[in-house]
């Protein structure tokens, strides 16, 4: 399969008239209201799941989004795809701000922007064969003509993700975790996307299968020039696959840098702690590594700390950190850090 077969639709190419980034996210906020009261429900607070996130993703680029569970990664991905309407901020895709767009106008973007989940089992309809699961987006988005063409296209997609096309008649429960993830990827590819949110796509897989899927995602990216937002809690995985990495904590980006730069020169105290907590599979190196052990857990996003949200666990925080909300500021080499102490 060549990139031409995946990009046959000339009209949809118009979405990318500009040469700018595929995706441009500005000051994105998602606050989930907390309500109370019987009969008359009143909003009494909010879960600030995403609280002022900005970044760009260029065509064919992978931006990694890493952070502990509950830091707002999934919500960020869903808000970009408008599966969760943002509370504030903008999400420009190919120059169009999606946050104000109607469901009808959203339709062409629904195939251009896809998502792959951690748990392919939960996201694949158990009563549909692999062939129907992959073929459905072809029908919905009018991407395959008649039945035979659709069947050929499904076979081609299965083959492209490393599976035997004869498996199209099987059901999700008949596949292993790795195979189900391949089916999830084939379904996403069916929409001929230029952008995919990969939400923890390898977190549930064993290492040998994880490596197969990571290699597959890299190959597909270079073949079709797809941009990825690659979400994971495993910094080694994120660093491996990403061109740039954003480190998230309690709804905010703490640090954003090219992946080699982030590893060589981690600057935010949270990034430094996170990095030192990830063991390297080499005992000779591990024995010499310094370890910064953070105390406690991440606070609740309902009542985030004032000033810098990380200050309650930060080894270098001072009184000022409770007052000043640090901006993500430029440190050179495409490296941005949100900390007033570094």
């Amino acid at each position: 399969m060549t990139s031409e077969t995946l990009r046959i639709d000339g009209e949809r190419g118009a979405l990318f008239a500009s040469d700018g980034p595929t995706l441009s996210v500005r000051d994105l906020r998602v606050h989930f209201p907390i309500t109370s009261g019987f009969l008359i429900r009143r909003q009494t607070g909010a879960v600030k799941a995403v609280d002022g996130v900005s970044f760009d993703i260029a065509p064919g680029e992978t931006l990694g989004l890493v952070g502990e569970s509950g830091s707002g990664k999934t919500t960020t991905g869903r808000a970009i795809l408008q599966l969760q309407r943002p509370t504030a901020g903008s999400v420009e895709f190919g120059g169009v701000d999606l946050t104000g767009v109607s469901a009808k106008k959203m339709r062409p973007f629904r195939s251009e922007m896809q998502i792959i989940f951690q748990d392919p089992y939960g996201s694949l309809n158990p009563r549909m064969s692999a062939g129907r699961i992959i073929g459905e987006p072809l029908t919905v988005h009018g991407l395959a003509g008649d039945k035979d063409q659709r069947r050929d296209r499904v076979a081609e997609l299965l083959e492209r993700v490393g599976m035997n096309p004869a498996m199209m008649n099987r059901y999700p429960h008949e596949f292993s975790g790795g195979q189900r993830q391949r089916i999830g990827i084939a379904r996403a590819l069916a929409g001929e996307p230029s952008f995919i949110v990969c939400d923890e796509p390898v977190s549930a897989l064993d290492v040998s299968i994880q490596a197969q899927i990571l290699n597959l995602l890299s190959d597909l990216q270079s073949e079709f020039n797809i941009s990825y937002l690659f979400i994971a809690h495993d910094l080694s995985v994120v660093r491996h696959i990403s061109d740039r990495v954003a480190v998230m904590y309690l709804g905010k980006i703490m640090e954003l840098a090219p992946s080699a730069e982030l590893y060589e020169n981690p600057t935010h105290p949270y990034t430094r702690a996170l990095m030192s907590a990830v063991p390297i599979p080499d005992p000779l190196i591990e024995r010499q590594r310094e370890r910064i052990v953070l105390a406690g857990d991440m606070p609740s996003p309902i009542n985030p700390p004032s000033g810098c949200v990380f200050r309650t666990r930060c080894p270098i925080a001072t009184d000022e950190c409770a007052e000043i909300v640090p901006e993500l500021s430029d440190h050179g080499n495409g490296h941005a850090v949100a900390c007033i102490k570094v």
């Binding site: 290492v207 040998s208 599979p281 591990e286």
Partner: protein
């Protein structure tokens, strides 16, 4: 201190017997950390459950082997004696804390109960010790947590409460089965550092069961790698990581993305998937996925042998693999 010899456990299933653990042998010395590694379904949990005589039966059944702990074969003692061993001289922690926490007892009561049973501590003394242990595992506000029920705690806090219970009676051996797998890395680091300090302070032995090769590299002195119910390689952590002799171990090591790897290196993945235990191939179970396999591998299962000291591998072609690895990595 613990010496497991020829352990075999099988399950009877609709497709016939599944030999989940097939002749596993290993030992752990006082104060030592041994890691049992391998991908899901290779028999790590069944091995530890067999050691503790907690394999659900039916359908499970331990069919062979001995489990010598401090000189006694745990397979031969009464269930009553075994109950004193569990939670006493051998502590256990699992991935899912609710498997060992009782939902209708407070955290404090569960720990003091264990202290009463195993250390004959009562009343104030038991309470003080329980609070001390809860604070040791990093549970915030331990004297308040003492009266909380498990459902009041967050996942990470429950995990810490379970660890507190497991270490409360000064076990000689702690078995940690994927105990930190579901936790965030910063919490994982807190807990593993704690376990390591207990090993040093009290000469506690630790059996870490995990699929995280980074954790193994950092905390284990010795490593046993399992595949399809067998140990296919064992040795010191240094031996295993710098000179793997089994192609599966070598494949696993090159499959993991490393934080310190040069940018954009491609992962060398192992082809295919783990075999179905009910339908194992003849010969070496890894042969269908192995780049080095020769005819012999497909008919004759290799035994775990030791060409040089303690480093053992179950592979007919191990010398060739070891040479290839040295050639690629420039160290032996």
């Amino acid at each position: 201190m613990l010496e497991v010899c020829g352990l075999a456990t099988r399950f009877s299933t609709a497709e016939g017997y599944v030999q989940a653990v097939d002749g596993v042998s290993f030992h752990i010395d006082e104060g030592e950390t041994l890691a049992l590694v391998g991908e899901s379904g290779c028999g790590k949990s069944v091995t530890s459950l067999s050691v503790m005589r907690l394999v659900p039966s039916p359908p499970g059944e331990i069919t062979a082997g001995s489990v010598l702990f401090e000189g006694r074969d745990l397979r031969g003692i009464s269930e009553r004696e075994m109950r004193r061993v569990r939670g006493g001289s051998i502590g256990m922690i699992f991935q899912e804390p609710m498997t060992s926490l009782n939902p209708v007892l407070t955290i404090g009561r569960q720990i003091t109960e264990a202290l009463e049973l195993h250390l004959a501590l009562k009343g104030r003394a038991a309470r003080d010790r329980a609070v001390e242990i809860l604070s040791r595992v990093g549970l915030p506000d331990p004297s308040r947590r003492f009266d909380d029920y498990p459902h009041h705690l967050s996942g990470g806090q429950r995990q810490r409460a379970m660890i507190a219970m497991a270490i409360s009676c000064n076990p000689k051996l702690l078995i940690a089965d994927e105990a930190t797998t579901a936790l965030d890395v910063t919490i994982q680091a807190q807990i593993l550092e704690l376990l390591q300090s207990l090993c040093e302070e009290f000469r506690m032995a630790l059996l870490i069961i995990t699929h995280n090769l980074g954790v193994v590299a950092r905390y284990a002195q010795r490593v046993a790698v399992m595949y399809a119910g067998r140990i296919i390689e064992s040795g010191t952590a240094d031996e295993i990581y710098s000179g793997p002799r089994h192609p599966y171990t070598k494949g696993l090591l090159s499959s993991v993305p490393r934080l310190d790897a040069a940018a954009s290196t491609r992962l060398t993945s192992i082809e295919g998937e783990i075999p179905d235990l009910a339908n194992l191939p003849e010969g070496c179970a890894f042969a269908p996925r192995c780049r080095w396999a020769v005819d012999r591998c497909r008919v004759e299962p290799p035994a775990l042998v030791s060409p040089n000291g303690g480093h053992q591998a179950a592979c007919w072609e191990q010398d060739r693999i070891s040479e290839d690895h040295s050639a690629e990595h420039g160290r032996s």
